[in-house]
């Protein structure tokens, strides 16, 4: 409608409220508030921007994939999230330095499969897995303390069912037992770290159920014992690494 066009034209002005062509309407904000259902609609935009930002950070690195292939694209994605990545046959992990810079050595390894990824504490979410799902040799994945890893994200891990042996979800605030149920598809899992999951209501029972569901897998964490898991004020301590082991080191 023409009113809509008018509204859009107004919105394009850089200093709309000062230069409003119709001062009787009280500036562009007032105008917009009159036009839209609620101020909430405007406030809602900040949420939208947050979602958009998260989506951008988890976007698919299609450009790198196109030139160097899936492994390099995954490595680039992981390193740009300040994570670590290990290629097959390599002793050492590729990591970022303190400033977040990293070398592009992984480009030379582009034909070597990635076997281990450590994305602990990153903003990875469901969409970010687009960058990893092609890694058919991935044996170890550390997603501990990832605030945006939720149950839906877990459902996508089924693509690694033929290779994944080790998974850490320790300290993921959004993971619940409703998502853990789908891990039964990961039949090769040998070690699963579920410590400090604040959204799992009955850790003791869930631990038994997870162990039954994955009989060949060692489940770490989710202990019902109070002392081991909760700090003095009763809140769960986020992100305590489980033992001195690091993700990516597959027990012999």
């Amino acid at each position: 409608s023409c009113e809509l066009q008018q509204c859009r034209a107004l919105a394009r002005r850089p200093y709309g409220s000062a230069a409003s062509p119709d001062p009787s309407k009280g500036g562009i904000l007032q105008y917009l508030c009159n036009r839209f259902y609620d101020v909430e609609y405007l406030v809602g935009w900040s949420e939208t921007l947050r979602y958009r930002n998260l989506r951008r950070k988890n976007a698919y690195c299609g450009y790198i994939k196109g030139i160097y292939g899936d492994n390099a694209a995954a490595a680039y994605f992981v390193l740009s999230h300040r994570g670590r990545v290990r290629f097959q046959g390599q002793e050492t992990w590729l990591c970022v330095d303190r400033r977040g810079n990293f070398s592009y050595d992984f480009v030379e390894l582009q034909d070597v499969p990635v076997v281990a990824i450590d994305l602990a504490g990153s903003v990875l979410n469901y969409n970010g897995l687009d960058n990893l799902v092609k890694l058919t040799a991935l044996k170890s994945l550390d997603l501990s303390r990832c605030p945006h890893v939720d149950d839906w994200t877990l459902t996508r891990l089924q693509v690694f069912k033929d290779s994944l042996e080790e998974l850490s979800l320790a300290g993921c605030p959004q993971v619940t037992e409703r998502g853990l149920a789908c891990l039964h598809l990961l039949e090769n899992l040998r070690r699963l770290d579920l410590s400090h999951l604040p959204s799992v209501p009955t850790p003791g029972l869930i631990r038994i159920l997870v162990e039954e569901m994955l009989p060949r897998c060692e489940v770490v964490g989710l202990a019902p014992a109070a002392g081991a898991q909760t700090s003095r004020d009763g809140r769960e301590e986020p992100g305590v690494p489980s033992g001195d082991r690091r993700a990516g080191e597959i027990p012999a």
């Binding site: 949420e47 789908c182 997870v210």
Partner: protein, 502 residues
């Protein structure tokens, strides 16, 4: 027990909001009637033409800027609305939400949702099993379910309301496991081919793989199985219904509790090559308020029939299906209430966390309910043994005699179980081809259907509501093309069958 809990939780989320006052109006809606177009049996072009007309009429009858969302009369419906949605189940509220989401300008559309039962005691939405699957045979259904899964995954981006806690629909991620006997194997494999083609992640399992994966299954009589790897599971229907409602109301949709009893219709006979046809238009929706004998008329441009199992009754109020037999006016909306039971039982040694939504070769199904050794499931009765639909009483013998034997055969630990509770609800069952009916009626020009989902409406509601809103606003489908599901198929007699009905 379960239901009472849900009810409390559900109503707790509802905040009262002022209802808009319709006082004062501008140009009255057009009474223009359609003239002399021959009714052709061409599904697509007819639908398109109908919708073009809707849109024109809608435009003509749009209100000016007299829409005042404040000064209100509590409880009464507005005197005038652009779109009246009859039925406040998940379909009705989904359409309402999408109308606002796709047209967020303040005065774009006045939408009112009319619901006869504020407690939702019989609505299918809250009596459903809450399942979502991709495993259908019709591409349209698979596309809708993929869209809905995407919607549910990002529900807070769509239905989140500022300053309210985030929505949690309690989604349980477990696939549907369909078992097929030798007779059904070819169909199942064909379905899986179609599903994969549409982008669904589904795997096929041999009986040996099945046994290895789920040692508690007895694979006798199973030739092949399919399992949905992603986007399948079950969730809390109340949470979804409330999320739609809360968001739609925050965007200006008004809610009215009252029962639509009749319509005021104007109609006109028109000669077509197929004979004389009666075209009509709903001008007023007449709503009976609770505890009152009075009817409140609501002047409207468009009526959305989202009355679920009662949608045939509502269509009849508009004259649909009450004409003489063998005429277009006599073709009913083939959607009937069919009573379906759900039983909840306890079995401490039953399948664990990996328990899928299992659909047996016999059609019996069950899933886990929570983590305390409870399960729920049922079976659809055969056509001959359809129970009476007068009330929602549960026939407990049905479980003992029909459901349990199948379950205990398939899952031997279920030989000993204890039934804890049960309820019944109505499927909005399409007797013609078990598929949804979406879009306008060819003769009653301003009634749009969104009904007939035959047992999977809950999961399709986000996609279906969007499709109908697109049809209303843009006069065409843009997200998913659902022309096939129009009412015209009942006239042409071409079935759009869904083979995978549970």
């Amino acid at each position: 027990m379960i239901r009472a809990g849900r009810l409390c939780r559900g109503l707790g989320l509802l905040r009262p909001r002022p209802l808009p006052d319709p006082a004062g109006g501008s140009a009255p809606p057009s009474r223009q009637l359609r003239t002399g177009h021959p009714q052709r049996r061409d599904l697509f072009s007819d639908l398109e033409k109908e919708v073009v007309k809707f849109r024109k009429k809608l435009r003509q009858s749009l209100p000016g800027s007299d829409w005042d969302p404040f000064g209100t009369t509590k409880g009464l419906p507005p005197e005038r609305a652009d779109v009246v949605i009859v039925g406040g189940g998940v379909m009705g509220w989904s359409v309402a939400y999408w109308l606002k989401a796709l047209k967020p300008q303040k005065d774009a559309l006045r939408v009112v949702v009319i619901e006869k039962d504020p407690t939702y005691s019989q609505a299918s939405t809250v009596l459903s099993a809450g399942g979502i699957r991709q495993q259908f045979s019709l591409p349209e259904n698979i596309q809708m379910s993929l869209y809905s899964a995407f919607f549910l995954r990002t529900i807070n981006e769509h239905l989140g309301v500022v300053n309210e806690p985030p929505i949690d629909i309690q989604f349980n991620h477990s696939g549907y496991l369909f078992l097929a006997s030798e007779d059904g194997a070819a169909d199942l494999e064909e379905n899986v081919r179609i599903q994969r083609n549409e982008g669904a992640e589904v795997s096929l399992l041999s009986p040996a793989q099945l046994k290895k994966k789920y040692p508690w299954i007895n694979t006798d009589g199973v030739a092949v199985a399919s399992y949905g790897l992603e986007n399948e599971g079950w969730f809390d229907p109340w949470s979804l219904l409330n999320a739609f409602r809360r968001k739609a109301m925050s965007m200006g949709v008004s809610q009215c509790f009252g029962e639509v009893m009749s319509f005021t219709i104007s109609s006109r006979e028109i000669m077509t090559p197929e004979g004389e046809l009666t075209f009509s238009r709903i001008n007023y929706v007449r709503v009976q308020m609770p505890n009152s004998l009075e009817y409140q008329p609501v002047e409207c441009s468009l009526v959305v029939n989202a009355a679920g199992p009662w949608s045939q009754k509502l269509a009849e109020m508009a004259g649909i299906g009450i004409g003489p037999p063998n005429t277009q006016e006599g073709i009913k909306l083939p959607v009937e209430p069919r009573k379906r039971y759900i039983f909840v039982w306890h079995c401490p040694d039953g399948p664990g966390l990996e328990c899928p939504m299992l659909v047996d070769t016999t059609g019996a199904y069950f899933r886990r309910e929570g983590i305390g050794g409870n399960y729920l499931g049922s079976l659809s009765p055969t056509e001959e043994e359809e129970p009476d639909i007068q009330d929602l009483e549960v026939d407990h013998n049905f479980f003992q005699e029909k459901v349990w034997p199948y379950l205990a055969h398939r899952v031997p630990v279920f030989e000993s179980l204890k039934v804890k509770s049960a309820w019944a609800g109505y499927y909005d069952y399409n007797t013609f081809d078990q598929n949804a009916v979406l879009g306008p009626h060819p003769l009653v020009e301003n009634m749009l259907f969104i009904t007939g989902f035959s047992g999977h409406g809950l999961q399709q509601s986000p996609a279906a509501g969007k499709a109908v809103a697109e049809l209303i606003l843009d006069n065409k489908f843009s997200t998913i093309h659902l022309e096939k599901l129009s009412f015209n198929r009942f006239i042409s007699g071409e079935q759009v069958l869904e083979r995978n009905i549970v």
